[in-house]
Structures are given as C-alpha cells and as structure tokens.
C-alpha cells in the first residue's frame, strides 16, 4: 500500500482537519462527533444532513455549504457513523423548519440515521426529522426480499437539488418530496478496473487480472454484476447506459443531467473520454443532455474506475439543479 498518510487510525480526523483549515470561512469541524458543518447556519430553513462512511471524498463533507448540505457526519472509512454522531449533527444544525436526513441505502447507515432521528424526536425539545434513502445503483436488484439497491453517485444530485429547495425556503415535507422525486428519477452504474485499498487493511479488497474488470461494482468495492474482460470507453458507456436506461422508463425527447463520476484514481482525461462516449450514445437515442458533470464526486478511495449517473429532469428539478451552490466540491 502506497498512501500519503500518517497513521491509518488518524486518517479521517486529519483529513477533516485539513478540510476545515482549507475552508476556514465556511466550514466548522466537530472533532468529538466528526461532524463537518456550515460555519454560518441559517436557522430559518430546513436543515440538510448527510454522511456515511468516509472514503468517498469529496462526498459528503465537500458538499457542505450554501445551496447544499448543512452538515456531513463522517464515519470511519467505509463504516456508517454511529447513531450518536448523527444525533449530535441533528442537534448542532437544528433549525425552526426541521431536518432532512439524506441516507445512502446501506443497512448500517439506515439503522444509524433512523435511530438518531428517533432519538431526536423523542427528546423533550423534539426536533422534526424526516429521512430519504438514496438507492440509485442499478447493479443491485431491487426486491422486497433484500435491502434493495445501494446508494451511490446519484446522492450528489439529491444534495444539490434538495439543498436548493431548502435554501429557497420550502418546508420540510416539500423539501423531502423534492428529494424523493430526485431519488425516483436517478440511476447509476459503475465499474472497477482495480480494487480500492482500505487504509486500515493495507491490501486491496479484491484482485482483478490485467484484462479484467468488475462490472457493476459498489463504491466500497462490493462485487457487482459480473467480472469480465475490460471493454473500451465506447463499449463501457454503452453497457452502463443499457442497464441504466433499462431500469427507468426514458422516452426519446427526455431531458437528463449526466454525471460521469471517477472512483478516485481514474484521471480526468479518461473521465472526459467516457463522458464523450456517453454523450454520443445519448444523442443517438434522442435523449437531450441538459447538463453534464464530470469529475470525482463519489469515490471509492483509490479505486480505478468510474460510474455513470442519469437523472431525468423536469422544470422543477432543472431550476433547483441550476440554483447557486457554494461548497468545496461544487460551485454553481
């Protein structure tokens, strides 16, 4: 393992401290509960909290700021933050309008965010808390008998759009409804050319041969649909889009936002090549691209690979997508 770090057990704290020092005007870091929050909270809007295991940088702390999140709760690498951490984040960012928790659909995250919400609602000075669960990864079958699809890069669109809705002053249930509209219309799928390496473990989570890729990989290195031979960028875009477009009814003429998301170690030049391949296919299928995001948004530490996310847009989603945002990782 070759990493720029000190001790693995200090990595999350040092990373968060580094981030706080880089954005002293806008971010405050709570060491005890590993909460990154906006420095200037607006008590008269719905508070938005997300978070999860670390290792997905810039998610989620990179999206804390005007027009997006109020706080991100940081777990250890790939481990959900605890109930108590989330509970404290709810208190630290409490507003007169209530709180929305944006949870990626993993059982650990769901249980901790749920329990924290219940704790906050049970308090004497109860806080109204609503939750949404992002489950955009079409690599995983959605079924009544499983925990359902995973939440991956599409989460960033939820942050952006629900963030804009909250900033505009919508009430808790309306912000929640907007977030759920995003969730209903966003789908993602990714692939890995190499595994990530969890710092505390020090060795890759899985091993691929020189000509292999893991198609449908998760953002923690979870296995996906199939392990198969590496394809070129045009083929990769076609395979990913086939799955995504097969999962949600898209009609010719629909408008979408596209995110080509790097998993951490794929260079930007390759992400733009992939996004070019995707754009060609969408044009052929007569799906109009309203906006494109290319970069590292929801990473898997240092995995080589990428995902494509499509979000079907209507006028409401478009206006929130275009609204101003001022965060470390996304400015609009």
């Amino acid at each position: 393992m070759k990493k720029i770090m000190n001790k693995a057990e200090d990595l999350v704290i040092e990373m968060c401290e580094g981030m706080e020092k880089a954005y002293p005007q806008s971010l405050v870091f709570n060491h005890k509960y590993k909460i990154m929050r906006r420095k200037n909270l607006n008590k008269d809007k719905v508070s938005l909290i997300s978070g999860g295991g670390s290792g997905h940088e810039p998610s989620h702390a990179g999206f804390v700021g005007t027009g997006m999140l109020d706080a991100a709760v940081c777990g250890d690498v790939f481990a959900s933050p605890s109930t108590i951490q989330v509970y404290n984040a709810i208190h630290e960012t409490r507003s007169s309008m209530g709180t929305l928790l944006i949870v990626k659909n993993y059982s650990g995250d769901c249980m901790n965010f749920d329990a924290a919400a219940e704790m906050a609602e049970d308090d004497d000075d109860a806080i109204q808390v609503e939750r949404v669960y992002v489950n955009d990864d079409v690599a995983v079958k959605d079924s009544l008998y499983t925990v359902g699809r995973r939440g991956v890069a599409g989460t960033v669109f939820v942050h952006k759009i629900a963030g804009a809705a909250a900033e505009k002053g919508l009430d808790l249930l309306k912000v929640k409804a907007v977030a759920e509209k995003v969730i209903a219309n966003v789908r993602s799928m990714g692939f890995a050319l190499t595994s990530c390496t969890v710092p505390a473990k020090g060795t890759p989570t899985f091993t691929l041969a020189e000509n292999e890729m893991e198609f449908g990989v998760g953002i923690h290195g979870e296995p996906g649909v199939v392990r198969e031979e590496i394809a070129d960028a045009d083929q990769l875009a076609a395979k990913l889009l086939e799955r995504i477009l097969g999962d949600i009814p898209f009609a010719a003429g629909d408008e979408v936002a596209v995110m080509v998301n790097g998993f951490g170690a794929s260079p930007l030049q390759e992400l733009f090549v992939l996004s070019n391949s995707a754009a060609k296919i969408l044009a052929e299928k007569d799906i109009a691209v309203y906006r494109t995001f290319v970069g590292n948004y929801m990473t898997a530490i240092d995995m080589v690979g990428a995902s494509i996310t499509l979000l079907k847009l209507d006028d409401e989603l478009k206006s929130f997508l275009d609204a101003p945002a001022n965060t470390a990782a996304l400015n609009a």
Partner: protein, 209 residues
C-alpha cells in the same frame, strides 16, 4: 430459586468484551468472505471503549448497567454493529429496569428483549443470514431451560450450543440483510460473521460461568 446478580451480568459482559477484543481479526476475516471485512473492527472498537470506561459505569442495578453499556456501544461501535448491538443492550436494559437479580426465566425474557430490539431496529428475521440466526436459537433454548428448571450453568451451555448450531446453518442461506446481501447467491457457503461470532462468545461465557 437460582438467580443472577448484577455482578454476574457484569461478569458476562466482561467476558463478552474480552472475546470480542481478542477475536478482532478473525471476526473481520469472517466478514471478508461476503461482507466488507470490518465486523471485528466495528464491534471491538465499541467494546474497547466500554472496557476503558468500565469503572465509571452505573452499576446500581442490571437495567442501569445494561443501559450504560448500550450507550457506549451505540456511540462507539461502527457500521451496522453500533445500532444492532446497541439496540440489543438498550432493549435488554428496558426489560431489566430496576432489577438487581434474574431467574433463568427472567434471563430468557431479557434475551428475548434483546432479540426484539434488534428486530425493531434492523427488520431482519430468522433465516436472513444475520446474527439473529444464532441469537434466536439461544433465546429459545434458554426458554426451554427455564421450563425444565435447569441451572444457569446448564442453560448457558445449551444456549451456546444452540448459537453455534444456528451459526453453522447460515452457510446454507442467501443473505438478504446487511452488506452480504449485495452479493446475492455468491454469499452461499460462507457463514454469517455476526452469527459465528455469537457462537464463539456464548461458548466462552458458558465455559467461564
């Protein structure tokens, strides 16, 4: 009638913590096959804090003791383990509120409360390939021991056997809860990490009792 005192419950939790801390790496390995390999780390993290704060815990009765354990576990166990183990302790604490001793029957009911807490939190049932596949058989066995008027020694021993047996069976299940569920059929042939861990923990508790 034979009863456990607060100090007995404390001893049981202490053994549990020692087994977890000793087995941190093997427990991670159990989770590597189909999960994400952090189970040992996640539980050990919380139980290490528990050990460090052992002398400051409220031990005025069994309920208070279990509640103060549950708070620490909820705060410091990582991932899914925090809420699962935390809600088990918190729910058991509610059952034991104000109690300073427990019969075998009451101990079985306390364990049932733990099961209920976990199910309320995580929604899993028997056969979903989680630690409930060890914990539910243990609880059922304890209930039978109460009916049969067994000693604690014997009840704990049978309970541990039931856990080990239940954990073994998880090899044949497809995971439908937790991270292993993403692997679908690929999870077959590997046992569930949490269930296996409970087998090991309960065996050690029964031996030390």
């Amino acid at each position: 009638m034979e009863t456990m005192q607060t100090s007995d419950i404390m001893r049981i939790v202490a053994v549990m913590g020692d087994v977890i801390i000793e087995n941190e790496i093997p427990f991670c390995e159990l989770d590597s096959a189909a999960g994400d390999g952090d189970f040992g780390m996640s539980v050990a993290k919380g139980f290490r804090v528990l050990k460090a704060e052992w002398n400051d815990l409220d031990t005025s009765n069994i309920g208070k003791f279990l509640r103060s354990c549950g708070m620490i576990i909820t705060e410091h166990c990582g991932g899914a383990s925090g809420p699962i183990w935390g809600s088990a302790f918190m729910s058991a604490a509610k059952y034991a509120a104000g109690k300073t001793e427990l019969t075998v029957q009451e101990f079985a009911e306390l364990m049932q409360s733990a099961v209920d807490g976990i199910q309320r939190r995580g929604g899993a049932k028997l056969g979903d390939k989680t630690l409930l596949d060890a914990l539910i058989p243990t609880t059922e066995s304890l209930k039978q021991s109460a009916v049969a008027d067994s000693s604690f020694k014997k009840a704990l021993k049978n309970g541990a056997l039931a856990a080990v047996e239940g954990a073994e069976k998880t090899k044949g299940y497809v995971a439908s809860k937790g991270r292993a569920s993403y692997v679908g059929d690929r999870s077959i042939s590997f046992p569930d990490a949490g269930a296996m861990a409970l087998g090991i923990i309960f065996t050690e508790i029964a031996e030390k009792f």
